[in-house]
């Protein structure tokens, strides 16, 4: 959907557009057979699922707003941590840190993920982040999503470029985003489906009715951005939602129930299990910009972390055997100041912690070249330094888990040199 980003009038034919058209024609051939695909969905799925390399999946969860990584994976062995945070530090006792390795511990709200840690399915990378110094949410997210820190001209997102280099013939949509809009990280020329979140997301829609669909199919038969989005939308509803809808109806029996993030991750697990052609998935969660009243073991940050931890745990549980083929990365645009501010909160900082979970992850370990928290060790005198580029972690996962070679990784992260990082062992 490259044309999503083009806005000044009719498109001129370019190499990019020609590619789009070729890809579109391939997809159109598949979609025209969608009736058959629907009726025999499982048989079709089984056929694709044969090859093990093509079963590997990557799920990215983005914490928008800059989560305070020092209160997520807490350096409780570090006296400076407690000095810098008189009211918001996570204590060593009471409802305090869940010790991981004697130096680091998890925020108590992450307790639902403790079994994953104990099973060796969860690792953290600390003092991780972007080499770009921006403390603007929007710039920093932009760079993490484009995958090219400091370069403003990159037009697509790294997950979309990843789609293009995955082995296979890309005959069907391989990426799904949960939520009502498509994120920057997935924008680009490869097709991406987005599916709604929240209760009732699977309710029937007028466009599902053949009489209406027929007419809009005619109207949106072209190669323009709207037509492409239309066809992706129809395909997503048929391919991704039909089975799930039936399952969900049974599950909630029509009764209103609280709906939360873990229900969305449960839906994602369903989609992944039902449709093996999905290789990468994305979802985002906001509310991390804790300038005021951040709380400690309880409070604002805790209240946001708990559903996220439950969501990651439920993803692991619901994926079943597919968990072994899945890596889940949880990341945020930058960390927050080491010292708490004047309002029992934290301001925009630099280094942060990245979470890596999956059946094949070499977990039960905090990967870090820990820079320390004493005043002289802080980045610009105020923030946790970045000693591991976020791209190094992802590159290692792309290589070891998704089976990409160096050249392919170079296309996902152009200009990034992956030499000399010690992340190679993060997945088995």
């Amino acid at each position: 959907m490259k044309s999503c980003c083009s806005d000044d009038g009719p498109e001129k034919p370019t190499i990019q557009n020609t590619l789009d058209r070729r890809e579109f024609l391939k997809r159109a051939a598949i979609l025209s057979a969608s009736g058959i695909v629907m009726l025999s969905g499982h048989a079709w799925a089984a056929k694709i699922a044969g090859d093990s390399a093509s079963r590997k999946r990557l799920v990215v969860i983005f914490m928008r707003g800059a989560v305070d990584g020092l209160n997520v994976v807490v350096p409780h062995g570090e006296p400076y941590y407690y000095e810098a945070r008189p009211t918001i530090a996570i204590g060593r006792s009471g409802p305090g840190v869940l010790n991981l390795d004697g130096h680091f511990g998890m925020h108590p709200a992450l307790a639902p993920m403790m079994p994953l840690w104990q099973d060796g399915n969860l690792a953290f990378v600390h003092a991780c982040g972007s080499p770009d110094p921006s403390r603007s949410h929007f710039d920093a997210q932009e760079y993490m999503e484009s995958g090219t820190p400091g370069v403003r001209t990159t037009s697509d997102g790294w997950m979309n470029r990843l789609l293009a280099v995955l082995p296979g013939n890309h005959d069907s949509t391989e990426a799904v985003s949960l939520g009502p809009t498509l994120p920057r990280i997935l924008s680009g020329r490869m097709p991406v489906a987005n599916v709604p979140t929240g209760r009732g997301a699977n309710n029937p829609m007028p466009t599902d009715r053949p009489r209406i669909e027929f007419n809009f199919d005619r109207m949106y038969a072209g190669n323009d951005a709207l037509s492409v989005a239309y066809r992706e939308g129809q395909a997503a509803r048929k391919k991704l939602l039909a089975d799930v809808a039936a399952d969900m109806k049974v599950a909630d029996a029509g009764a209103p129930q609280p709906y939360g993030f873990s229900d969305d991750t449960a839906r994602l697990a369903q989609l992944i299990k039902r449709d093996p052609s999905i290789r990468i998935a994305f979802m985002a969660l906001g509310g991390w910009d804790t300038h005021v009243n951040q709380g400690a073991a309880n409070g604002q940050l805790a209240n946001h972390l708990r559903p996220l931890a439950e969501g990651v745990a439920s993803l692991a549980k619901n994926l079943g055997p597919a968990w072994g083929d899945t890596v889940v990365i949880t990341m945020s645009e930058f960390g927050r100041t080491v010292h708490e501010n004047g309002n029992a909160g934290t301001d925009h900082g630099h280094g942060n912690v990245m979470w890596v979970a999956g059946g094949n992850v070499r977990g039960r370990r905090v990967y870090t070249r820990w820079p320390g928290l004493s005043q002289s060790e802080l980045y610009q005198g105020r923030d946790l330094a970045v000693t591991t580029d976020f791209r190094a972690v992802i590159a290692a996962i792309l290589e070891r888990h998704m089976g990409l070679n160096r050249a392919a990784i170079g296309r996902v992260f152009p200009g990034f040199s992956n030499s000399g990082n010690d992340m190679d062992t993060i997945v088995a």
Binding site: C5, P180, A193, Y230, D347, H348
Partner: protein, 550 residues
Amino acid sequence: MVSAAEIPTELRAVHVLNRLAFGPRPGDVARVNAMGVERYIQQQLSPTSIAISASLTDRVAQMETLRMTPPELFIKYGRPEAERKGEKPDPEARKEARRRAHIIIQEAVSARLMRAIEGPRQLQEMMVDFWFNHFNVFADKGLGHLWVGSYEQQAIRPHALGRFRDLLEATAKHPAMLFYLDNWQNTAPNSPGVRGKFEGLNENYARELMELHTLGVNGGYSQQDVITLARILTGWGIQKPRRRNPARMARAGGGRNFNGFSGLGALGGFPGMGAFRAFGMRPFNSTPRRAMQNPGEGPDEYGFYFDPSRHDFSDKVFLERQIKGSGAAEVEQALDILAHSPATARHISYQLAQFFVADNPPEALVQRMASRFSSSDGNIRSVLATLFQSREFWDRRYFGAKFKTPQQYIISATRASGVEVLNYRVLAGNAARLGMPFYGCQTPDGYKNTQEAWLNPDAMMIRLSLATALGGGHLPLDRPPPDDAMGGRVTRVSLRKFDRPGGSMGPLDSSALRTTLGNNFSSHTLDTIEAAPPDLRAALMLGSPEFMRR
């Protein structure tokens, strides 16, 4: 560049109605053609010259919460009265207070939609959309739910076509912004006013004030400037209690617990708000009070207050300019510097050109607008006049170049249908479902208005379903919402079936709709429409690619 082809005469009325307005209503295209597009533009640039119908004025006037100031709203809809008097918090009473407060956002949404759908001052409404997002606040952060309507009514709306500096000041002093970006707690460390949670700097507002509201992210400021601006902004906050007048405080229903700032969580109470004086109602549409322009002279009626005891009075260097430590006047000086910076002129001009012309607006146009911005002292009306007179605005290449945002799509479809709306919740719910709930943008950059942000597969399905429901007469817009509707939250996604039997309308008259829309369809679209069964034709028009764009 070769001289660009202009938009053909027969499409000029459609063009201005799509760009200066939320699309045509029945009869609009003919009316604009009769009066001439130039005159239409001139009229829209002077909104007070356009009369508003008595019916619309009356209905908007019924929205009582829009006429209330932030202190009044806090007293009536904030924490339960017993609690403000110092009694123990009661979770049930709190829930009830929160439920009662839903009326505020519902009135704000209804008024916004009413004015956008029916109101004749369309450019004014477009600019409210633009500026609200530029100076975004979020209803679901703490006390925001009390104040978003007041913020739009009292800070944004009066200045939407006025002077940028006034708009900047009005937003800087409104409690909705002071709360949303935390500046109400920003305090000079070691100042005499330090207490409780007011004990240090908070950079949040200072940063966004430069990055988003004025200079832009590449506007040439440093982290040191962020810190300096935060220091300048210390004490710039929300009214605090007045201890000397216990009778007045008691009358306002507070006064016991304003010293204990503990427990002010994101959904918490509000220090000292109990001590607000209860002002009488003001006439609707009154001009902003002078108090908004006299900083540092005690609390204004909107609840702004500069607290010298929490201010950093040292001399400062901000953006290479000397600022003498003097209190609230420092903020005025800083706002002057920011409002008059060439970076701000450029940033605002770029955003306006993006909103009105194309996602990647032509550079020459941005430059001309920026220079008009500077030479007119940030006169928004002048900058817009430059924009609407530009050859870029009339360049054929940019006709229909903007993909409507979900809100714009919903509003324009309702306008085109000519339906008299009695149920705004249906529209608000669909905006939420499309990812754009009213007053529901969590981040301070506001909603984007680009195609990249809003075009996606699921959005197409929802838009077409909405078009089908509206075109087929199934959207229950013409029936008031049921009584229980007050309990719901319009900023939350409410996913309902589109085709639930509802409205009593039949399918829209497709030939009338075609005329309303100025027959602006490609031949392919027309072929599809004409080949379709008659009862689907209006739906296909509202779901056409031409109608997705503006």
